[in-house]
């Protein structure tokens, strides 16, 4: 549904002003999670299981409790016993509780089993060694395929929800199947059918800021929590449930956030710090070490996938089928359904079927990571498409253009697309000099498309005008990439006052209504929409004041360029009344002027991107260098283009890491082997080329300015685009990520990936 008042000519939107928090962030003044201190503060530390799967027979904390520096020790018994276990995602509070503090069993290497609060960080760490835990080690499984076979250790009976068909292993906890048409008939029409299997390893979001919080909770059930989070209302709600207190009694303030990418959409240490604080009756700070971040916070899922696609000689896809098995740690939640729904979404298909499995294993609870589930599926599907093009001698961009979903296409996952930008991104890719640039020997080029749904979510925004005509805007979505700048731009556009006159604050849970997490690429869309509506709400009131002053009906006043003006010659002859002139007297003309908006916007607008990448493979060592990279993605409308480019570049860089070097490596003992940045190898500056970007703008009908979320789609195409480039450079099809040098060299030696 197109909004009737969608704007297309802008004064502020589309410019690139300095971000409001820029000065704080280049001077070290910005306060992140670990930068808070409180009088009388204690330091917390968490004891973690060294076993992948073990029954907790006994925890003896008496020696720690007796130590003079130790002020509190907590275990599972210190959390609410009212949180109910339910199958699948229906009992997510229980799942989170079980994750933040183990109950009967430790379920993965790094699972929290107890925690202490002591007078210093060193004292807290030392005190952990005084806690004795007796474990009965159980058989474990960390691989997704192995976790589904009959004799695999059962992580938790009863965790499977209604969606799971009979006869599957109890570790399969959710099942998804969708599609349309007749795939068998479609394969029969194909000139070439390729069926192949792919795997991806779990990767971590790799935010540079470890989880950190400062908690204070009294025996009266009133608390304060400062934490680095993508969503402080979800932290409030979850912590309250886990501690057995009322939601509104816990005030949560979001710190500046040092990266999240989905990984800070839930809680880990926050309930533990609150429990310690309640027991010690003092504020407690907990800061995770990097190793704790890797071992115990959400990586993404690992995946095992089977793809079958049929194509005619002219490049028409006749049928497509995919089976996607995603491992999400010892809890339900692996986004097998998302993987399945996104995998074929870029294409207009007559016959398509997709199946997704959510599988548990003895690994940390997966958390969202940028378009959760989508990159893996795109890797598998777009690799097969590339192979079909290679074998049929077709241009991979032409084939994608031929099959591309367009306005009105029935999506592979059900709905019919409204106005979408995929074709535009493909046309831009084809016209881009990168696509026709010559390659050097040893280099290969790959392309891939990618899709993400984008999300709306519950949103509240409030805007208050000051007497001097400046405005303060209160949003509830933590700023994870420059959103305060884009909010201020949108508010400036509506109010008609300069960008610099607007101060945007990420409000705490006590000062604004509920806001969903900064996820799903929803912030610029949903908080932006709410900002526009809140500003319009304020403008209505400004027009009312002008109407009263002029003695004309309010519908005879319109808002133009920061001033109330008569709506036409019949409305009367009055000079434009600037905003500051109205606010200067607002106390005497009816009181303070504010605008607000609360809703759950539903028109997020899906997003597509196309990436072009060149890779060079050293045939003697299997080492890959990314030599050129271009991102083309539909933003709907880029509010602050520099930060849109930044999202594109960041998504590509994370995808490069995932494709080439990043992975969770488990030993035979089920312990994570690479829980530091030395061996969890994210791209460094010297690994990457400049990353070119093309912002396509096909307006989203569901947003007043046409915005589509841009944060997530950018990580969907890279895995496949790079795999296609590497496979074309090496002359062997790479089917398993990461494409580490040993893997590529082995493929080169055997002639098969």
């Amino acid at each position: 549904m197109a909004l009737d008042d969608q704007k297309s000519v802008f004064k502020f939107v589309g410019t690139r002003p300095d971000r409001p928090d820029g000065l704080d962030k280049v001077t070290g003044r910005a306060k992140f999670g670990a930068d808070a201190y409180a009088a009388g503060m204690l330091h917390g530390a968490i004891l973690r299981s060294p076993h992948a799967h073990a029954r907790i027979v006994k925890i003896d904390a008496s020696k720690a409790e007796a130590h003079p520096d130790v002020k509190a020790v907590v275990t599972r018994a210190d959390f609410s016993d009212k949180v109910e276990f339910k199958p699948g995602l229906a009992g997510e509070f229980w799942n989170v509780l079980e994750n933040v503090m183990a109950g009967e069993k430790a379920l993965y290497d790094g699972h929290a089993v107890a925690a202490v609060a002591a007078t210093s960080a060193l004292a807290a760490r030392d005190a952990l060694k005084l806690i004795e835990v007796e474990y009965e080690v159980l058989p474990h499984v960390t691989d997704v395929d192995k976790a589904m076979v009959a004799d695999a250790p059962v992580i938790r009976e009863g965790a499977s929800d209604y969606s799971v068909p009979e006869g599957l292993h109890p570790n399969v906890v959710r099942y998804h199947e969708s599609g349309h048409g007749d795939v068998e008939a479609g394969f029969g029409e194909a000139d070439l059918v390729i069926e192949d299997s792919f795997t991806t390893e779990a990767t971590h979001q790799g935010y540079i800021e470890p989880h950190a919080c400062l908690a204070s909770l009294g025996g009266d059930g009133k608390g304060e929590l400062w934490c680095t989070t993508q969503g402080h209302w979800i932290a409030q709600k979850t912590c309250a449930a886990l501690l057995g207190i009322e939601t509104a009694q816990l005030r949560v303030t979001a710190s500046e956030i040092g990266g999240g990418f989905g990984g800070k959409t839930t809680v880990f240490i926050e309930p533990v710090a609150l429990a310690l604080s309640r027991k010690a009756n003092r504020p407690v700070k907990i800061v995770m070490s990097r190793s704790e971040v890797f071992r115990a916070t959400g990586p993404t899922s690992s995946a095992s996938m089977d793809i079958k696609i049929g194509m005619k000689k002219d490049g028409t896809i006749t049928a497509a089928e995919g089976i996607f098995r995603l491992q999400g740690g010892a809890f339900p939640g692996a986004p097998g359904d998302m993987t399945a729904m996104c995998a074929f979404a870029p294409y207009d298909l007559t016959n398509v079927r997709q199946v997704g499995y959510d599988v548990m294993a003895n690994r940390p609870k997966q958390a969202a990571y940028r378009a959760p589930g989508a990159p893996m599926g795109a890797f598998a599907v777009e690799s097969v498409l590339d192979e079909l093009c290679n074998q049929l001698g077709l241009d991979p961009l032409d084939v994608r253009l031929k099959n591309a979903a367009h306005d009105g296409s029935k999506a592979s996952y059900g709905p019919t697309y409204d106005q979408i930008g995929l074709v535009k991104t493909l046309e831009e890719a084809k016209a881009h000099p990168h696509y026709s640039a010559p390659l050097k020997p040893g280099q290969g080029r790959g392309i891939s498309c990618g899709f993400w749904f984008n999300h709306g979510g519950e949103t509240s925004v409030s805007l208050a005008l000051s007497g001097d005509g400046s405005a303060q805007l209160m949003v509830g979505t933590p700023d994870i990439g420059g959103s305060r700048a884009s909010m201020a731009l949108m508010a400036a556009e509506v109010l008609g006052i300069p960008y610099e006159n607007i101060r945007v604050t990420v409000a705490d849970t006590a000062t604004l209504g509920y806001n969903d997490v900064s996820h799903g690429s929803r912030v610029t869309y949903a908080s932006g929409l709410a900002t526009i509506k809140a500003a319009k709400h304020a403008v209505e009131k400004l027009c009312e004041r002008a109407a009263t002053k002029w003695g004309i009906p309010v519908d005879a006043v319109k808002w133009e360029d920061g001033c109330a003006v008569p709506s036409g010659p019949n409305a009367g002859d009055f000079d434009p009344l600037p905003l500051a002139d109205i606010t200067a007297n607002m106390g005497a003309t009816g009181g303070p002027i504010s605008g607000h908006f609360e809703a759950t916007p539903e028109g997020a607008g899906v997003s597509f991107g196309t990436h072009i990448v060149d890779a060079e493979v050293d045939p003697e060592t299997g080492k890959t260098a990314i030599t050129r990279y271009t991102v083309i993605q539909d933003a709907g409308k880029a509010i602050h283009p520099a930060y849109v480019e930044g999202q594109y570049q960041g998504g590509a860089a994370q995808g490069i890491g995932w494709a080439l070097n990043e992975e969770y490596i488990y030993g035979e003992d089920g312990r994570l082997q690479n829980s530091i940045f030395l061996d969890y190898r994210i791209p460094v500056a010297s690994d990457l080329p400049m990353i070119d970007t093309v912002i396509v703008e096909v307006p989203n009908p569901g947003h007043p300015f046409g915005v589509r979320g841009v944060g997530e789609t950018g990580i969907v195409p890279p895995l496949a685009a790079i795999a296609n480039a590497v496979s074309n450079a090496a002359g062997v099809r790479m089917r398993d990520l990461p494409m580490s040098p040993p893997r590529i060299l082995a493929a080169l030696k055997s002639g098969d990936g």
């Binding site: 000065l23 280049v26 306060k31 500046e256 860089a653 791209p683 500056a685 990353i691």
Partner: protein
């Protein structure tokens, strides 16, 4: 063991603190001197978020003990601006949107400043290798490198 007394200079100020010998310079800067600009991203010298200079030499403050700072001259991001006037790198980072979340920014700025002091005319490759120990997960480094290169050009022109 009782705590050790350390006298040192941070951003030109004489400071003193008591520390456990196990505490790092980063712990001391943050928890004893309230200079929280340097961040702990890893604690193992792999991310560079804690970058400071010690007697002009770029180091990870997580890989140096607080007690080793005795008698040294430490510079952190908090000392980069001259009063109200930002260092050209700080200015350019804002202008170029060379930060997204901003957690790596203090370390990147301290490291980039050290680069330009040593090599006012770095190639892109030199800048990328110099900054390889400063992990950034948000930006893909593109805008960071552009900001560093263009600041270098501006500073060469101005000098």
């Amino acid at each position: 063991m009782s705590k050790l007394h350390v006298s040192t200079t941070v951003n030109g100020d004489s400071v003193e603190f008591l520390c456990d010998p196990r505490e790092t310079l980063l712990d001391c800067l943050r928890d004893k001197l309230n200079l929280t600009g340097a961040k702990e991203g890893c604690g193992t010298g792999d991310c560079g978020a804690c970058s400071v200079t010690v007697d002009g030499r770029l180091v990870c403050s997580c890989l140096m003990l607080g007690v080793e700072a005795d008698g040294k001259d430490i510079a952190t991001v908090e000392g980069m601006a001259d009063g109200e006037e930002l260092h050209p790198l700080q200015q350019k980072f804002i202008e170029y949107a060379a930060l997204q979340c901003g957690i790596c920014t203090p370390g990147v700025l301290v490291a980039a400043k050290a680069l330009l002091e040593k090599n006012p005319n770095p190639t892109e490759e030199e800048a990328r290798y110099w900054l390889a120990g400063n992990l950034c997960r948000c930006t893909g480094y593109d805008k960071i490198i552009r900001a560093v290169m263009d600041t270098a050009a501006d500073m060469r022109e101005a000098s």
